[in-house]
Amino acid sequence: MLLSLMIFIPLLGMVAVLLLPRESEELIKRATLLFTLIPLALAVYLFIAYDRSTAGTQYVVNVPWIEAFNIQYHIGIDGLSVTLLLLTALLGPICVIASWRNIEKGIKAYMALFLLLETGMLGFFAALDLFLFYVFFELTLLPMYFLIGVWGGPRREYAAIKFFLYTLFGSVLMLVAMIAVYLNSGDPGARTFDIPTLIALASTAGHALNDLNFQIWVFLGFFIGFAVKVPIFPFHTWLPDAHVEAPTAISVILAGILLKMGTYGLVRINMAMFPQGLDHFTNGVGFWGNSLALLGFINIVYGSFCALAQTDFKKLVAYSSIGHMGFVILGLAARNDSGITGAILQMFNHGVISAMLFLLVGVLYDRAHHREINGFGGLGSRMPIYTGITTLAFMASLGLPGLSGFVGEALSLLGAYDKFKMLTILSTIGIVVGAAYFLWTLQRVFLGTLNPKYEELPEINGREILTLVPLGILTIVLGVWPNFAIDMFRESVTNLIDVLNAI
């Protein structure tokens, strides 16, 4: 009930916002903030109240929905989902605050869509029914499309439709796989979309879902669906465009949450449900056995080099996201304790850090109205606080120990090395290149002589700091005390590994 409340309060908020008159913008913003703060409160409560000692799902709601297909409204949380729910709920109000002044037209529609988006994201992370999962997955598309397309930058139309088409392309393959799973889950009438049930069936010897070939194909279907979202090379090209064009808050959501939907799906569906399929792609034998790790490696190195080549601040951050998600893939491919934990941590941390980075880019863009890295210089003396926070975010992102980015990255690599020695070693190139582009950016933007154009550039203001501080604190806390997050999903990971080892 609590969970349902959390998911649907933003939807309620959307209705409420829609009912408000278009002119009362302050009211709309406050209402939106309220309707995003409530889920945050609930998420924090769930985070605290969640029983960390068990891998089982908690706060389960399971009621029939579409009986003809045995579709249920089945939601619940385990450690992984509660972590990401917290992230989502946290970024919600932050993005609302970040949008406070930047959205000039159609604030009502913006906020309504944002709330719809939040419902989709929250629901996605809580869904335990495959169909519901898919519906929530897709539910995020439409608001995102509009949020980029209407409130985005100059090439927003292109970016929006690209995002939409890419994701839809992935998700139709996922749909096929999903239907295939459903159809093979039992005799007509006994079929199910229930994720826990399907996981159990898939590990029952002799069951149709347990067939290796079947699992491989279905794995691929889901994988491509999620790969577009993650995004994994070569499905990534929507990301830079979408990021560059999207308004700040939407970039934050895009990088912070939407990318995580992909990796979350990989863990929740691909790994848990198709361990044999996973095994086929990660057993380290031959090309296919290394393929997933290879993709992770390509993502890391490719994303990093692309980031290095960028001169647009936001694009750089976008490509860095691709690189960082590569660590998640690599960690998942390792499918051992440290790999998976590292991957999950990296998901969360990347959500926090990239959110910070995009917020920071937004701060600069709001002031200078461009994002050309080479067009700045020496801002460090003009905007010390901003520089400080940026440095923190950069350092966290490039994996400086003591900040959260390190833990996930390091654990992923440590785990991956166990299986994919060469690929992991090669992936460490990403660490250096990652440092290179961030430091180079830092140098070009903040260090050196102050660009005379920006002598009057105002320092970051209180509202902006307000959006960054919680994330900064999280970055430090998780870097110093990762168990804070790991405690949540340790049992879930152990459970998952048991499933993976059982095959």
Partner: protein, 496 residues
């Protein structure tokens, strides 16, 4: 079960009779009422629809428990399948009448004939949904076709409308002539016009080597020409973009929904009852042929829709593509497949009519059918723009709208039969389709209207009607009604 005699049948024929009576009444009323601006005839036709609806319910429930009956000595059949289509068609007709009320294209002086023809075409479609005899099939098809030609060319002062009618009738005449030839071959092989017996006869003859599979193949293909032209499947689709573009918008809407639905009713009944036996399918793998046709149809429809600038034409191609999706359900020979078609038709009715209604509104207010005409609509008429978004997104099949659920059921049924390639083609097509739907959305939301920034206001009635389409488009998927459709479909699938 014995077919009812002509006299016994009359009672159960009441919906059709009512339609004819109202059609006549409309013409008479039109003669009586002198006021050219009067909308009395439209409301009379609406009342006609309502009465017919009551009659449909009556006839359905009076036989609801006893199962399907044959009427008029086996000419038509009253079953839940036909009742379903009757309701669907009535909805489409009523909606079209309401659209026509708002449309400014139509000549006010001809509205008596217009509404009478609408009722008459509905009458023909009713028969299409219930015919079980080759002759009845052909006559009902011709009734619908002839009326459609006239309606398409209804704008006598418009060259486009005349051209549409001309192309439509030329195309339709050839297609139906071909179909009639196919029917004659069927008749010649089976020696009977009764659909129920044809299957058995053909099977026997094939088994006995009395007829060559080629003969059946030719017959089926020729018949497909007639049916395919009604549902606008490749390669029989080419009339539809031109006709849809040239015809009055309400008629386009009506044709794209009602005509297609009736076509599918006929298609299902004909193929399932006539060629549904296993032996026949071994001789002529028509499901596979249909699968290919279906794949081609959606691909061609979607690809051709991509560069369109005229919204009506774009929706015409989209409607072709949807015909392709629907055909997928037809190749499956399962109650799920047919149930999926039926459900999708319901969904399609709401979303497509809704989209066309917006087109009507925009054509009235902005005076353009082109995509550019939709620029800046989000600020000029936000509610209408959002409604359009919902329709288009639903047409593209994106959750949580009804179109997704329709596709979902369809694809589940397709995959259940192992047609993975077909499902994949269909799904990739739905990705492509998103692109051109999004073009309209783009124009409405991402582009500025230029100098025309005045708000467009609409009456409450408009919004009420709009919500009639919006609400089902949003919520129909969440209602637990799939069983119903599978059950309906069982009544037309005799062999399983």
């Amino acid at each position: 079960m014995q077919p009812l005699s002509n006299i016994e049948s009359l009672l159960y024929f009441s919906p059709e009779i009512l339609l004819v009576i109202f059609a006549a009444a409309v013409i008479i009323l039109d003669l009586v009422v002198k006021d050219r601006e009067s909308v009395a005839v439209a409301y009379l036709s609406l009342v006609g629809c309502l009465c017919t609806f009551a009659a449909v319910l009556f006839t359905h429930f009076s036989f609801g428990d006893e199962g399907p009956v044959s009427l008029f000595l086996g000419m038509i059949r009253l079953d839940v399948f036909s009742s379903f289509f009757k309701v669907l068609l009535l909805l489409a007709t009523a909606a079209t009448i309401l659209f026509s009320l708002r449309s400014e294209e139509l000549d006010a002086r001809l509205k008596g004939e217009y509404y009478a023809l609408l009722l008459a075409i509905t009458f023909g479609m009713f028969l299409m949904a219930s015919s079980t005899n080759l002759l009845m099939i052909f006559i009902s098809l011709e009734t619908v076709s002839l009326t459609s030609y006239i309606l398409a060319g209804f704008l006598t002062h418009s060259p486009r409308s005349s051209e549409a009618a001309f192309k439509y009738i030329t195309y339709g005449a050839v297609a139906s002539g071909t179909m009639l030839f196919g029917l004659s071959l069927l008749f010649g092989m089976a020696g009977t016009g009764d659909l129920a017996q044809i299957s058995g006869r053909l099977t026997e003859l094939l088994a006995a080597g009395e007829i060559a599979p080629l003969a059946v193949l030719i017959a089926i293909t020729f018949v497909l020409a007639g049916v395919g032209y009604k549902i606008a499947s490749v390669p029989f689709h080419m009339w539809s973009p031109d006709v849809y573009e040239g015809a009055p918008i309400p008629i386009t809407a009506f044709l794209s929904v009602a005509s297609k639905s009736a076509g599918f009713a006929l298609f299902i009944r004909f193929f399932y009852a006539g060629f549904g036996s296993t032996e026949l399918m071994q001789a002529v793998d028509w499901p596979f042929m249909l699968a290919i046709v279906s794949a081609l149809t959606m691909t061609v429809g979607n690809l051709a829709a991509l560069p369109q600038q005229n919204v009506k034409r774009l929706l015409a191609y989209s409607s072709i593509a949807h015909g392709g999706y629907l055909l997928m359900g037809g190749v499956l020979l399962t109650s799920q497949g047919v149930g999926a078609i039926l459900f999708y038709l319901v969904v399609y009715l709401f979303m497509n009519l809704g989209a066309f209604y917006v087109v009507v509104l925009i054509a009235n207010e902005v005076g353009s059918e082109m995509v550019e005409g939709y620029r800046g609509l989000s600020s000029r008429a936000p509610l209408v723009a959002w409604a359009m978004v919902i329709f288009l997104v639903s047409l593209a099949g994106i959750p949580p709208f009804a179109g997704f659920f329709g596709k979902w059921i369809l694809f589940t049924a397709v995959l259940e039969q192992g047609y993975y390639w077909l499902a994949l083609v269909g799904l990739l097509n739905s990705v492509v389709s998103l692109y051109y739907y999004a073009r309209i959305v783009k124009a409405m939301f991402f582009e500025d209207a230029g100098e025309e920034t005045t708000n467009v206001s609409f009456s409450t009635g408009t919004f009420a009607l709009l919500s009639v389409f919006v609400i089902p488009t949003i919520f129909i998927g969440f209602i637990n009604i799939f069983y119903t459709f599978s059950n309906i479909s069982v009544s037309v699938i005799p062999m399983q």
